[in-house]
């Protein structure tokens, strides 16, 4: 354990012909992404409080929560159409309210607080969030802006460090990753909020990182093996970096796993999306980003006998 490694993912002389399955990989990815886009429009993302506006109050009651009483108390405070639901243990209640332009969320939230303590004496409000309609629209805009700008900057960076075929394949792959993550969010009903934007950005960062390592090796091999066909060369590069790809994705996966299990309501959704993104991001490096590079660069990259930009 302190000397030689005890375990390896694949043997050093592994040579898997990944490019043989390139069309299958691309087709599978395209189908999944298309399905995700459809899911995005119907039924659509479950928008969280940050982006939808409204009120969420989380209360912990002394005994088992009595939903009927809470609903009655809310009605007595003229709060209608509130969603009262259980979550976590029997003692936890979640109250949700939508908001439109005219709702004074901040006054309503105090009413909800009063109603909860009236209905269940001894209950404590452990979390109360109110986001007005104007703020939520702005948060949404900023969230999308952060996503968009990150993609653009990643594109610019890879373009600057590599060549445009690399940058374009990377960004197309990232968009495919992104759509699948959105599909995952729709299917799992995790709320899409600012924390999810953070998760998606982290996935993008991780996924790019993964692609950069493979591309880095492709670039190096382009210089090392002047005559090897691009297809063979990409396969070689993936195989050479396979232990690293699997190793790193495993460590990130292992780091995110406890968050999904122990992270509590606020982080477990985030962590599950991360775990999904790690799997997608790792597989897309091999099955999407590399084949795309082959398609885009088959003519150009190999004909070019000049050495690529120094790295």
């Amino acid at each position: 354990m302190f000397g030689r490694p005890l375990l390896r993912f694949v043997r050093s002389d592994t040579h898997i012909n990944f490019m043989r399955g390139r069309f299958l990989g691309l087709a599978t990815s395209a189908v999944l992404s298309l399905a995700s886009v459809i899911l995005f429009f119907h039924p659509g993302l479950t928008l969280g409080l940050d982006f939808k506006g409204g009120i969420v109050v989380e209360a912990r009651t002394n005994g088992p929560a009595d939903f009927g009483k809470i609903r009655t108390a809310l009605a007595a405070h003229h709060i209608e159409a509130a969603g009262v639901q259980a979550f976590g243990s029997d003692n936890d209640v979640l109250i949700r309210l939508g908001a439109d332009e005219n709702t004074n969320t901040n006054a309503v939230i105090d009413q909800v607080r009063h109603a909860v303590t009236e209905a269940q004496p001894g209950a404590t409000v452990v979390r109360a969030d109110a986001v007005g309609a104007s703020v939520s629209a702005e948060l949404f805009r900023n969230g999308l802006l952060a996503l968009g700008l990150s993609l653009v900057m990643i594109l610019a960076y890879i373009w600057f460090r590599f060549e445009w075929e690399f940058a374009l394949s990377a960004v197309i792959t990232l968009v495919l990753d992104l759509t699948k993550t959105v599909g995952f969010l729709v299917l799992t009903h995790f709320e899409f909020d600012l924390v999810m934007v953070a998760a998606i950005l982290t996935i993008l960062g991780y996924s790019t990182n993964d692609k950069v390592v493979v591309y880095d090796r492709v670039r190096e091999n382009l210089r090392r093996y002047r005559t090897m066909p691009l297809r063979e060369l990409i396969d070689l590069s993936i195989n050479e970096t396979l232990n690293r790809t699997l190793g790193t994705s495993t460590t990130v996966f292992l780091a995110a796993l406890p968050l999904a299990i122990f992270g509590g309501s606020s982080l477990s959704g985030f962590a599950w999306v991360m775990l999904f993104g790690i799997v997608v991001g790792t597989s897309s490096s091999i099955f999407i980003a590399a084949p795309l590079l082959l398609l885009l660069g088959e003519k150009r990259l190999r004909k070019d006998t000049k050495p690529a930009a120094p790295g």
Partner: protein, 519 residues
């Protein structure tokens, strides 16, 4: 690549020790007040508390300024014997316009308006419009300056009000042009503070118009104001302000000697005292209205001249209302109305749960990564683990040094950083393994491994860095904490892998001169 100068060696070790030292204050009680004790602040989501995003209503500021400009314009025009019609205020455009009574008066109108005193240079421009009307337009610059000052002033008032409630460590910061963030650690039900901040608390003393008893429509120069104590009823109160609440120097809750109920007493400054004394002297037997935010609290009959500059307000208060009003009057009126646009409050129990959840995840995640590295990378894996520990220590140290705020997403960011950090070590070791396979000697293989992997490591970290800087810029609240820890984590990762773990590998090689490498 395989040689560390003595200076470099010591600086790497010194940095790690400094990191350890900087972490200490987070775990040990501060021994003496005089020693600087930089600590990581826990975010509201971890310690419990409230976050309020207050929206400043700047349009009211423009409206008020236009109103007062149009009032003085009217007075100046009337004084010069000029007439006007169709006065219109446009708050959005920041202008008001009117039509001259007669087109021939246009030039004199323009001259009078242009000569009106300005609060700041170039505050407004006056121009004739093609349709024959005259418009006075506030300059955007002047409006911005005014808005900026108003928000600064509002922050000061907010701070005074919150301090008066005894809240511990409140943070009040400006956000953008028209927002104020109020963070209140430890206060998970901010209802009281919200009601304090939602009150403008502009108090004025004005005479009641006795000539219009029972009026429903305000006579000229008056405004019908609602009564606080009798909902639905209104009272004709003169627009002229006799004494302004800005002249108050002190106020506080007290008991009314006659009724035994709660009341608020106040003390005026010398200017206020003079004005109060003059108006009460001249109007004995008349009613004097105490107006708070355009509502009449009470309108007592002046029995005799009040010259001492002291007074008492006996609305129908309970203890809480009297205390609050005293507090609001002492702290001063807000120059602009504030509304709560976003509220997030977290109870202390949930915060404690989150700390536990975050710490447990961090511990388990850390251990899983360490075991993985030991199994898959052996001796070099352990060097990576040492670097990983140093990485964690350095992240905590930097966060403490800057007094940064640690949030629950921030803890998630730390954990993910640790997961990503070993990537650099994996890249190096895998590279060394490949170089050995190509037939290089251990020394050459390590050298090549470091060299080749470094470029890759820098490239892959640069992209992650870019993504999280974006998140920091556009994110808010806890999400920024996440972006911040990841960004700091990328820096500490580069240090701990490129310098520290490599140092360990190089020293090991130099000491043992092995013929084969444990890869």
């Amino acid at each position: 690549m395989m040689y560390y100068s003595r200076a470099k060696l010591f600086s790497v070790i010194a940095a790690c020790l400094a990191g350890l030292l900087l972490c200490v204050p987070n775990f040990v009680r501060k021994p003496a007040a005089s020693i600087p004790w930089p600590q990581i602040h826990l975010g509201l989501d971890l310690r419990g508390g409230s976050y309020l995003l207050m929206q400043v209503d700047l349009s009211s500021l423009t409206h008020d300024r236009l109103q007062s400009l149009s009032d003085s314009a009217r007075q100046s025009l009337l004084a010069a014997g000029l007439g006007y019609r169709d006065i219109a205020l446009d708050t959005k455009q920041g202008q008001f316009s009117f039509r001259p009574r007669d087109p021939s008066e246009k030039d004199r109108d323009l001259k009078i308006l242009s000569d009106m005193p300005r609060a700041v240079a170039d505050e407004f421009t006056v121009a004739a419009r093609p349709d024959g009307s005259i418009a006075l337009t506030l300059s955007p610059d002047a409006m911005r300056t005014r808005a900026h000052e108003a928000v600064t002033q509002a922050i000061e008032i907010v701070r005074r009000r919150i301090d008066a409630t005894g809240a511990v460590d409140p943070e009040i910061t400006r956000q953008g042009e028209d927002r104020i963030i109020v963070e209140l650690p430890g206060i998970s039900d901010p209802e009281h503070i919200k009601s304090l901040l939602g009150t403008t608390a502009r108090m004025t003393f004005r005479l009641v118009d006795e000539t219009a008893p029972g009026a429903t429509v305000a006579p000229p120069g008056d405004t019908m104001l609602p009564l606080t104590e009798a909902p639905g009823q209104t009272l004709a109160v003169r627009d002229h302000i006799d004494v302004d609440g800005a002249d108050l120097v002190n106020a506080g809750a007290t008991t009314d000697e006659q009724t035994g109920g709660w009341a608020v007493n106040f003390t005026l400054n010398s200017a206020g005292t003079r004005a109060f004394s003059a108006v009460t002297q001249a109007n004995v037997g008349r009613r004097f209205a105490i107006v708070l935010d355009n509502k009449v609290i009470e309108a007592p009959v002046i029995r005799s001249a009040i010259t001492g500059g002291n007074g008492i307000i006996t609305g129908n208060f309970d203890a809480r209302k009297a205390t609050d009003l005293g507090l609001l009057l002492r702290a001063g009126a807000l120059p602009v109305p504030l509304t709560v646009a976003e509220e997030r409050s977290i109870g202390p129990s949930l915060g404690a749960d989150s700390i536990r959840a975050g710490a447990l995840s961090l511990l388990v995640g850390f251990l899983l990564v360490i075991v993985f590295m030991a199994l898959f990378y052996g001796r070099f894996g352990w060097y990576a683990n040492v670097a990983l520990f140093a990485n964690l220590v350095l992240m905590l140290a930097i966060l403490s040094l800057f007094g940064a705020t640690l949030t629950l997403p921030g803890m998630a960011g730390m954990l993910l950083t640790l997961g990503m950090a070993v990537d650099a070590n994996i890249l190096i070791v895998e590279r060394i393994r490949e170089e050995l396979k190509r037939g290089r000697t251990p020394l050459a293989a390590m050298q090549a491994g470091f060299e080749r992997a470094t470029a890759t490591i820098l490239d892959s970290n640069a992209t992650a860095f870019l993504a999280h800087v974006m998140l920091f810029v556009f994110g808010t609240g806890p999400v920024r904490g996440f972006a911040l820890t990841i960004t700091i984590g990328i820096a500490t990762t580069l240090f701990s892998t490129l310098l520290l773990s490599r140092l360990l590998m190089v020293r090991w090689y130099a000491l043992t001169r092995p013929s084969t490498l444990p890869v």
